[in-house]
């Protein structure tokens, strides 16, 4: 049971409200929180109440912290608290701060409306940290009342905190995709633009599948000293802020495989839920080690296909030889093709792929460019892999019930 394991890190979602770009306080606080061993899921500035609530539920956080500096906090905090309740996250407390803009009189109103606490201007950072660690460190337990995304999110949280796999809840979606999810592992060196590329692929998925759902599992490293982490992938995932996207950030918590130790269980939970058409699993920045999606040895690989992403500055042909994933990957993308080195890189990587004799074609992409045709082509290749994987029509894995 959970108690047998060391206490898992406290997970917190931080954000700045809609129409507010003041992120200087929140970035300072994020760094401090991570330094104190917390896992910080940072959503960014200019975030709607709906996006904050969606993220809080999918990330199954202990608490939400909002930093508001340009007014409207009475309405905004209430909207977050109310929507949390409405969407099955009423147990997640919300605190906030706003320098001098939130007055003691405001605080009284906000507390009545359900905000848990306001930190006033001048509260020392150490005091803020102590209060958060003292008051919000609930240990996650299974909860039968949780439905939908929250149930999935809680199951993943339990997997992360070392709950025995046999006892993990296995939530099923009431709205089933109609076919098993296609699971793609996305790996590549840090800085290659994996997160941006995944977001661009997500935007294409949403456009082409008007009723489909996609799940994203973003693995990011924990800080080796404090055990904390800043999980910031959601900030730049602009197209993934959609109810049809289930986005979950996983800190590696000491795992050295490129994935959280809970990733296999999380993939299984998402896959078995029947809610998704596509699941993309992003590893931490990796390259030469090995294939993070295959190291779990015995059984079948964790994923149905792998996408390897690299950028033009990989350091020359010799380096390419060392990248194990270039041999095994089903899809290979060279991102940042607007870079001057991209031309040479394309030729070198294609030559490296040709050695494998598997007919792998390199996909040149520039994910930072909106509507990049290279990303369109990559998405088309991924979609065709997915449909050939599904052929002949497979029966739904283990699930019953849904229409």
């Amino acid at each position: 049971m959970a108690a047998a394991h060391p206490r898992p890190p406290l997970r917190i979602l931080t954000a700045v409200p809609l129409c507010d770009g003041h992120d200087s306080a929140v970035t300072t606080i994020n760094i401090e929180l991570a330094r104190h061993g917390l896992e910080v899921i940072y959503l960014g500035y200019h975030q709607s109440a709906a996006a904050i609530v969606r993220a809080a539920i999918q990330e199954d956080v202990n608490v939400v912290g909002l930093s508001s500096y340009n007014g409207g906090h009475l309405v905004f905090f209430k909207a977050v608290v109310d929507q949390l309740k409405m969407r099955g996250g009423g147990d997640i407390p919300v605190f906030g701060g706003g320098g001098g803009t939130i007055t003691p009189a405001d605080e009284r109103v906000m507390r009545r409306q359900g905000t848990d606490r306001i930190f006033f201007a001048g509260t020392p950072l150490d005091d803020i940290m102590a209060v958060i660690q003292r008051d919000y460190a609930r240990v996650a337990k299974p909860d039968r009342k949780f439905k939908g995304d929250r149930a999935l999110a809680r199951a993943i949280t339990l997997a992360e905190s070392g709950y025995p796999r046999s006892k993990l809840p296995a939530p099923r979606s009431t709205k089933v995709a109609g076919h098993p999810a296609f699971v793609v592992g996305v790996a590549g060196p840090g800085g290659a633009g994996k997160s941006t590329l995944i977001d661009e692929l997500t935007s294409r998925f949403l456009r082409k599948n008007p009723a489909g759902r996609i799940a994203l599992l973003a693995n990011d490293p924990s800080h080796p000293g404090s055990g904390g982490a800043i999980l910031g992938d959601r900030v730049s995932a602009i197209y993934s802020q959609d109810d049809r996207v289930f986005f979950r950030s996983l800190a590696t918590r000491g795992s050295l495989t490129g994935l959280s130790a809970a990733a296999p269980a999380a993939i299984k939970i998402l896959k078995n839920s029947g809610a998704f058409d596509l699941i993309l699993v992003e590893s931490v920045g990796v390259g030469q080690e090995s294939d993070p999606f295959r190291i779990y040895g015995k059984g079948p690989p964790l994923v149905d296909a792998t996408l390897f992403v690299l950028a033009p500055h990989y350091g020359g042909r010799i380096q390419l030889q060392k990248i194990a994933l270039l041999t095994g990957a089903d899809l290979v993308a060279l991102n940042k093709c607007d870079h001057p080195m991209a031309h040479t890189a394309r030729a070198e990587i294609q030559a490296r792929l040709d050695q494998n004799g598997r007919g792998q074609q390199l996909h040149p992409t520039t994910a930072a460019q909106h509507f990049d045709p290279g990303v369109d082509a990559l998405y088309a290749a991924l979609a065709s892999l997915s449909s050939s994987h599904l052929r002949p029509p497979a029966s739904r894995p283990g699930s019953g019930g849904a229409a």
Binding site: T27, A50, N70, G72, A79, P104, T196, V235, H370
Partner: protein
């Protein structure tokens, strides 16, 4: 080497040139004699005045010397006021009180709250304290992000922290009762990502009131600095390329059509407020300015036409570097523009607006903020800023209330009108050994930042690698740490606390009733133009897709479309900005 590397080299080359000329003044008798003769002529042209207490004073303070080396050092290293390299001042007379004063007071007070009519009332109130008509506008969050007041989830933000503007009709209400075509009228707007839409509304509203011929008479500034938004302030809608293109379209249209308008205000203020040190503020702001100059030149614009239309905006806090920051910036800008961009004199002058530091003001024992602002004002004027905004003491908790807005404006009058520091003699402080030393140190540090960015590939490449953002965040983090550790004394917060409870001051907030009124007006506007707006948006989309000048088209679009409709249309064409952490 990027442009920035060339600029750093040009400054080094200019400094070496000054050193050579100073040495020559010591050794070359004919050169020395020429300098002395020029010096004598300069001194002769300076006229004199008498202080109210009877002390005769020259109108311009010059080094009291006949030493040709000192003369050369001053003329070339600092420059007479209004002469290259403009360290002393952008213009000859600045704040002097002449019998016939043709200049305008440098005071410019920022206002924006509630709905257009509320801000309009504040403008009329503030106007009673000013000789000339200077209206500086703050917008609310939804407007700054290009959203309509009925966009999902924004209602609580409508009219908070600034005025809500959705349509050209709101813009008409905002400036009702003011003759914007007056010679001494000047409007400034703190507006960035949707600047093209908002300026188009301003033009359209002015044309409705004053006729089509009024456009050339409109005078003022719109901030429109997208680089600092990406680096610090985070109000960005479109991807960077598209944002810069829309900005370029607007500047290109304004240069010939609005000869009295500054279509961009290159701003360090928000960079400093987000955490940057004074040196970082100056380095990032200047390098952003040079980047705009480069982009405009690349579009085929003439530096001597657009150069004089670029203006600057800096923060002035209490750190020692602020004693000289404006002076150093003017000098570096002038050298870079002249020696790298080939600009003539008018395009070399950095025109500076300064605002006292909002970050330096705190809620605890907030009346101390009056003193902080007064000291910062003094520092700003010592740098001969061309215009200045003083913050209100109640700003840590609210949009300024009338009482504190008045005190802030009076602080400027006390320094400029009551005190004799600036009105009798130009350049009372320039050339002091301490200032020269500080200028040299600050300049050196700025050039180091330039060279660091140069090695990253220049401003845009550095920005993509989030160099500026991480430097600003690091500095902000260090500042907070200094406060908590007590290394940075903040009176009433970490030192000399009186334990006074949090003040209860009247807050300027927008009532839900007003917010609903704004939404009702917006919907009525959209309803009224429901037939014309799809075609107008289609024309805008066509121009945007064809690579035409979007700004020229926007002036028509705003007649029938709301801000949010236009933002959505352009987002469809160019995509959304992807934020950086």
């Amino acid at each position: 080497m990027s442009q920035l590397g060339k600029i750093a080299d040009a400054v080094d080359a200019y400094n070496a040139h000054v050193a050579t000329e100073v040495a020559r003044a010591r050794t070359d008798a004919a050169f020395a004699a020429g300098l002395r003769a020029r010096w004598a002529r300069i001194r002769e042209t300076v006229d004199w005045t008498v202080s109210p207490t009877g002390t005769p004073l020259p109108r311009l303070a010059l080094p009291q010397t006949d030493d040709p080396a000192v003369i050369a050092e001053f003329l070339l290293g600092q420059g007479l006021p209004g002469e290259f390299p403009y360290a002393t001042a952008a213009y000859r007379e600045m704040y002097l009180d002449r019998e016939v004063n043709t200049g305008e007071e440098p005071m410019r007070l920022f206002a924006g709250l509630g709905l257009a009519e509320d801000t309009n009332a504040r403008f009329h109130y503030l106007g009673t304290h000013q000789k000339s008509l200077r209206l500086s506008t703050a917008f609310d969050g939804p407007t700054l992000y290009g959203l309509d007041s009925d966009h999902e989830g924004v209602l609580g933000k409508v009219g908070e922290g600034g005025v809500a503007i959705d349509t050209v009709e709101d813009m008409t209400r905002l400036f009702a009762g003011f003759d914007l075509t007056r010679k001494d009228a000047s409007v400034s707007m703190t507006m960035n990502a949707p600047a093209p839409m908002i300026l188009a509304m301003f033009i359209a509203a002015a044309q409705r009131r004053f006729g089509p011929g009024c456009v050339a008479k409109l005078r003022g500034t719109i901030q429109a600095d997208m680089l600092k938004e990406v680096q610090a302030q985070n109000e960005v809608i479109f991807p960077i390329d598209a944002s810069l293109r829309f900005l370029g379209d607007m500047i290109e249209w304004c240069v010939p059509n609005m000869p009295k308008w500054y279509p961009v205000s290159i701003s360090g203020y928000h960079i400093a407020e987000a955490g940057a040190t004074p040196v970082q503020q100056a380095a990032f702001t200047l390098s952003n300015g040079f980047t705009y100059a480069g982009l405009l030149q690349a579009r085929g614009a003439d530096v001597n036409e657009f150069g004089p239309r670029l203006s600057f905006f800096l923060d002035c806090g209490l750190d020692v570097e602020y004693l000289v920051l404006g002076r150093v910036c003017r000098r570096l800008w002038a050298i870079g523009m002249r020696d790298v961009f080939g600009a003539g004199p008018k395009a070399q002058i950095l025109k500076l607006h300064t605002q006292t530091s909002g970050r330096s003001l705190i809620a605890a024992e907030f009346q101390n903020n009056l003193t902080r602002t007064a000291v910062e004002l003094m520092l700003a004027y010592l740098n001969y800023t061309n215009s200045c905004h003083s913050n209100s003491a109640d700003e840590p908790f609210t949009t300024p209330t009338e009482k504190y807005a008045t005190l802030a404006s009076h602080a400027q009058s006390i320094i400029m009108e009551e005190s004799g520091v600036f009105k009798h003699t130009m350049n009372l402080f320039g050339g002091a050994p301490g200032l020269l030393l500080l200028e040299k140190q600050v300049e050196k540090a700025i050039l180091e930042v330039f060279r660091e960015m140069d090695t990253l590939g220049g401003v845009l490449a550095a920005q993509e690698q989030r160099y500026q953002r991480s430097k600003i965040q690091e500095a902000g983090h260090a500042y907070e740490k200094q406060i908590y550790a007590g290394a940075r004394p903040i009176i009433g917060l970490n030192k000399y606390r009186s334990g006074e409870p949090m003040p209860s001051v009247p807050l300027a907030r927008t009532s839900p009733k007003k917010q609903r009124l704004q939404v009702a007006r917006l919907r009525a506007f959209r309803q009224k133009h429901a037939k014309q707006s799809p075609a107008a948006l289609q024309r805008l989309e066509n121009v945007a897709r064809a690579g035409g000048n979007v700004f020229a088209e926007l002036i028509d679009t705003v007649e029938v479309c709301s801000l949010g409709q236009i933002t959505a249309c352009l987002t469809d064409v160019v995509g959304k900005f992807r934020p950086m952490v």
